[in-house]
């Protein structure tokens, strides 16, 4: 059960769900500044977010491949309302959905002018209290 957010709390910690056995390698990668994607050990298809089976061949065998963190914007939104008190200080903040060069998508924060679909971007993990944000910026 997720702790009940209290909107009157001024400064709260970001939600940090515990990793599962499936996702632990992903979060270890994040801590090392790497965006790791599951790669099917049997047929080589990449997948994200982490899950048990390869939906193409149903193998549980997994290796992890580091993604380039380069891609293009698929869509975006700007949040003007904090649904969890830990985000109140960030308002307004922009989230981008990115088509990674490797195929799967990643969600990240955005630093740059108003985004648009198709814009080439690159991402880096930036430290914040309690974890890291994947932050994308435009690339020339």
């Amino acid at each position: 059960m997720t702790p009940t957010p209290n909107p009157t709390t001024a400064a709260a910690d970001r939600p940090v769900p515990p990793p599962s056995a499936l996702s632990a390698p992903y979060w270890e990668g994040v801590a090392a500044g790497k965006l790791l994607l599951q790669c099917c050990g049997a047929c080589g298809v990449l997948r994200h977010y982490p899950r048990l089976l390869c939906s193409a061949c149903h193998s549980t065998s997994v290796t992890w491949k580091e993604a380039s963190r380069h891609g293009t914007i698929h869509s975006w939104t700007v949040s003007h309302h904090a649904y969890h008190p830990s985000f109140a200080g960030d308002l307004p903040y922009t989230l981008v959905t990115v088509d990674l060069a490797e195929g799967p998508r990643a969600l990240g924060r955005w630093r740059g002018p108003v985004p648009s679909i198709g814009l080439p971007v690159a991402g880096n993990f930036e430290a914040r209290p309690g974890g890291f944000d994947l932050v994308f910026v435009p690339v020339p």
């Binding site: 059960m1 997720t2 009940t4 957010p5 209290n6 909107p7 009157t8 970001r14 939600p15 940090v16 769900p17 990793p19 599962s20 996702s23 994200h48 977010y49 698929h74 869509s75 975006w76 939104t77 700007v78 949040s79 003007h80 309302h81 904090a82 649904y83 969890h84 985000f87 960030d90 307004p92 903040y93 989230l95 959905t97 799967p104 998508r105 990643a106 969600l107 990240g108 924060r109 648009s116 679909i117 974890g131 944000d133 994947l134």
Partner: protein, 387 residues
């Protein structure tokens, strides 16, 4: 075996919709359920099937115990958020057509006001739900926490690809509000204009406050019966002529969905219309799940009322208003009546097809559609016919 016209809605019930209800979710659910049972001309113990929507309050066991049901033959849970009420119609229709049971109670109650501040609202609640585990682990920590934030990229992409505009969203909001003003049991009491919509505060761009559905307390219930068991039902029977459900690809993550502007209802709609033997052009009245204005536009496209990308122009010019070509959300919808996961949409369609909808009655309505939409894009629709 087709489910076409093998079951009918015989009873409907609703509580008053409000904020700050003193009754518990279960009390609200029981009140609505007893009203629906009485409306169907039944006694509580006649119910032999129960589908609680989600498990927000009462379970099937609670109904056995409180209603004195001696032989409950069918129970199920529809776990797909706002798609659940219409998915429950499908489950009830299948159970009845298969001879499993005769009278299925579909029932819902919620009280968001009684819970600790904010804890039972959608933005907080979904992170305890297993179907949102990808959002909870990978997106909530970045600040994509609530449905408005999760659906906003779908809407933004639709705007950029197809030219859908703020005014198109506003058309949906204004139509729902006009209908709510004619409904004595609606939370919203003040008229709004397209200008008011555009000027309402931004929540998750491109969604403004008036693009977002309400949070409210209340209960709703319907009874689905076998036509044979309901031969002497007190009200005009409303038949389920076509019903289907569908799920988008990557249902647990919009971010990873190959086409984030496609919904589960796009897979379900051809099945439901074929089952009923009708087309969208035959529909007299529509009750479309409106968690956000954009969701109405997108579902109309996916059901074939217009082509993909043409939903914005389609809803313009008052088409969705009473007197328009496709009166929609004649009760005010989730946007302006109340939010009981869309079971209020089912109740309203039945009322329309009974010709019992008061000031929002669509004249001579014979055929209607109701949709459900939930959990990031799962969908269902039912095409219903006046007997």
């Amino acid at each position: 075996m087709s489910l076409r016209d093998r079951s009918c809605v015989t009873g409907i019930g609703e509580t008053a919709y409000l904020r700050g209800a003193s009754a518990s979710a279960f009390e609200l659910q029981i009140e609505a359920s007893l009203k629906a049972v009485a409306d169907a001309g039944l006694k509580p113990a006649d119910i032999d099937g129960v589908i609680p929507i989600g498990i927000v309050s009462g379970t099937a066991d609670d109904f056995i115990e409180n209603f004195g049901i001696t032989d409950l033959r069918f129970s199920a849970v529809a776990p797909h958020g706002g798609a659940s009420p219409v998915m429950a119609l499908q489950a009830a229709a299948a159970a009845i057509a298969g001879g499993v049971c005769r009278h299925v109670l579909i029932t819902f109650g919620r009280n968001i006001s009684a819970a600790a501040a904010g804890s039972n609202k959608a933005g907080a609640r979904i992170h305890s739900m297993p179907q949102f585990h990808y959002v909870t682990e990978f997106e909530h920590p970045l600040g994509a926490s609530a449905p408005a934030q999760l659906y906003a990229p779908m809407a933004r992409r639709h705007m950029e690809l197809y030219g859908t505009t703020v005014e198109h969203f506003g058309e949906v909001a204004v139509a729902c509000r006009e209908h709510a003003l004619l409904n004595g049991n609606a939370l919203m009491k003040k008229p709004i204009t397209l200008e008011d919509h555009r000027n309402s505060r931004m929540i998750a761009d491109p969604f403004r406050l008036l693009d977002c559905s309400l949070e409210s307390d209340g209960g709703a219930a319907v009874i689905v019966s076998s036509p044979e068991a309901a031969a002497d039902a007190p009200h005009r029977r409303v038949f389920i002529s076509g019903v289907a459900a569908g799920h988008p690809d990557s249902p647990g993550s919009i971010t990873q969905r190959a086409d984030m502007t496609s919904l589960g209802i796009g897979k379900a709609a051809p099945r439901a219309f074929a089952m009923a033997g009708v087309t969208p052009a035959d529909i007299d009245v529509a009750e479309i799940y409106d968690c956000f204005t954009y969701a109405v536009i997108r579902q109309l496209e996916d059901m074939g009322f217009c082509k993909k990308g043409e939903g914005g122009p389609f809803v313009s010019g008052g088409r969705l208003k009473l007197g328009g070509a496709l009166p929609t959300n004649t009760h005010g919808g989730l946007l302006s009546q109340a939010h009981v996961w869309g079971l209020n949409h089912v109740v309203e369609l039945v009322r329309q097809l009974r010709h019992d909808a008061g000031r929002t009655q669509v004249r001579d309505a014979e055929l209607g559609v109701v949709t459900g939409y939930g959990d990031l894009g799962d969908g269902a629709l039912a095409i219903m016919r006046r007997e």
